[in-house]
Symmetry: C2
Subunit: 343 residues, 2 copies
DNA sequence: TTGTACGCGTTATCAA
DNA sequence: TTGATAACGCGTACAA
């Protein structure tokens, strides 16, 4: 704060009392003269006194601040999660320091560093697509520093993760497509570095098998970038060149699904009549499209809220993550809309 | 940080030196034995020393942290702004503390309070729809506390604002509709508490007049909530009950435009043939819709970046806002797409 | 070239 | 019921 923010000492001087008395009076400690207390509070009010959280942090070695590292805020899902984080953190008296990695490992690492310098009490992380090794996290976990991972869960034994049931969501989506009579279902897959990508792929494959459809590896199309143009291009090629033209697309995220939808439109294929499409994440725009896009809804707000609750519990109760439930899995919900409904 | 974070004292003890020597060695002060310096850095490395930013903050009365208060993160435009803020703040060595007001005045006020307690060096604000009085800001401005407002600019003399040219954007959008031959253009307006709403309304009205169309007050439909359902319902009623059925809708935000689009579809009206539609903000989904939605694009990232630069300049150069350019206006860009293109 | 002492704002501890 | 002192981690004026 700038010049002239009143401190306890200012109040003390004004009333000819000691700093400790002021401190106690303000915090309603027992054994303080009621009259003194009244006067102290009055002057505090007058001087517009505001406790200095920094001084408190230094003294208590606790900052009541948690860090959040996400790939990008400009991402409907992540912004939803942040919203949940913010909500819970606030209501429990914590500040939220936010940084984006922009999917870069080095930014993730340097963010972690500055946050630690700032004495955060714990951190919530969804790691970047570039991140393939996790020493920058394990080092801290070994020192019992509280970390909770969300959505993107690393392969670290003993780490706490909050995620959605990507496997089941994917399984449901694929089964739904099959139930609607689609038979040649392509999966637009995400980067293999993310566990969620692998889980979604697995759910897709298992759903095929359990429904008696044979799995064709050529039907898995990697979309590492996750842009609309990417999937639109890939699906466009597919439609024109593939020996057996696919009749459905299950994308590991909504953007990819929109790309597929556009490619189909480009090719004059009718959705859902000739081609079924399902996305993943249930972004806001799904119900604005024509036809409305079916998608697997992920509880982003809840994820952020739960992860934060767990983190703060660890911080405050000094829980040992090793003795806790390691993974909280939230349920997804398939939102069936027009893009995949034949009957 | 938890137990066992090494401090300068730990290094001092290990090397039988005084804390001040360590401090100087680490910061490459002149007049320190090279050999000592080497050893200090070595031990620092070994103990995984990390400066305590909290202690620094307390000492310098500077936290290198800026606060951000926005209505909601789950809002494409705001998340874009936050992204710009984050980027610049980070590169200039500042942390970002984020809070959402959720469009509530009391949350806005309490956010401000906790942030001040946390000794932020300055704050970036986009105030809530509920905010009608600004004492909680003016009080601080009077004490020279650095505040930069973005997007939603309050009627505070001397305050620094970064915003887009809402008037011009709106004027352009309306003119465009007129140029496409639409004549009965309805404006879906935002809440009057926001200057941006008023500016957009003004731009609409002026464009009508300057193009020789008479302005009909009944053609301004307030959409205070800004939800899809709201505008869909309102436009639906309009279509059925209005004596002179409108042939175009210019909405003060994209969601409203989508609502209008849906209402038209419900009523069997063809966009853009029978009805033209233009939104404001150019959210991601605009180009995913069918027909693609024309919209006024706002440079969110730039807005965040610029606002942050200005704020940090004020903080670091101790500039007096009163002597500065008060308002930075960024240009909008009309993205003409299918929803308003007749020719 | 290095050490001592003090202060940033607060509170816990011990003494009065 | 109140006050004095020390400590959280760091930087710096001053002394050695």
């Amino acid at each position: 704060m700038k010049l002239g923010q009143a401190t306890i000492k200012d109040i003390a001087r004004e009333l000819n009392l000691s700093a400790s008395t002021i401190s106690r009076a303000l915090k309603d400690y027992p054994g303080i003269n009621d009259e003194t207390k009244r006067k102290v509070k009055e002057v505090a009010e007058k001087l517009n006194y505001r406790p200095n959280a920094i001084a408190l942090s230094l003294r208590q070695s606790r900052s009541f601040t948690i860090g959040v590292i996400i790939p990008e805020v400009v991402h409907f899902f992540f912004s939803t999660v942040v919203s949940g984080i913010e909500e819970v953190a606030n209501s429990r008296g914590y500040n939220v320091i936010l940084t984006q990695s922009n999917e870069k490992l080095d930014r993730e690492i340097s963010s972690m560093e500055t946050m630690l310098s700032n004495q955060i009490d714990g951190v919530l992380v969804s790691y970047s697509k570039e991140t393939k090794t996790f020493e920058h996290f394990t080092k801290l976990l070994d020192h019992n520093f509280p970390i909770v991972f969300f959505d993107r869960a690393p392969a670290i034994p003993g780490a706490i993760n909050v995620m959605v049931d990507d496997y089941q969501g994917s399984f449901d989506a694929t089964s739904h497509l099959i139930s609607q009579g689609y038979k040649k279902i392509v999966h637009l897959a995400g980067p293999k570095t993310l566990k969620i990508s692998k889980d979604r792929e697995k759910g897709y494959m298992d759903a095929l098998e359990q429904n008696g459809l044979k799995f064709n590896p050529d039907y898995i199309i990697p979309c590492p970038m996750g842009t609309l143009e990417e999937s639109r291009g890939l699906v466009g090629n597919l439609i024109n060149s593939f020996p057996e033209r696919p009749d459905a697309y299950f994308s590991c995220h909504d953007i990819g699904a929109v790309g597929a939808m556009m490619a189909c439109r480009d090719a004059g294929l009718k959705v859902p009549l000739e081609v079924g499409i399902v996305g993943f994440s249930d972004w806001q725009f799904c119900s604005m499209l024509e036809p409305q896009l079916s998608s697997v809804s992920q509880p982003g707000f809840t994820m952020g809220a739960k992860a934060t609750e767990i983190l703060i519990d660890i911080i405050e109760k000094k829980l040992d993550p090793k003795t806790m439930e390691q993974t909280l899995i939230l349920e997804t919900k398939l939102m069936v809309r027009d893009s995949s409904k034949r009957f």
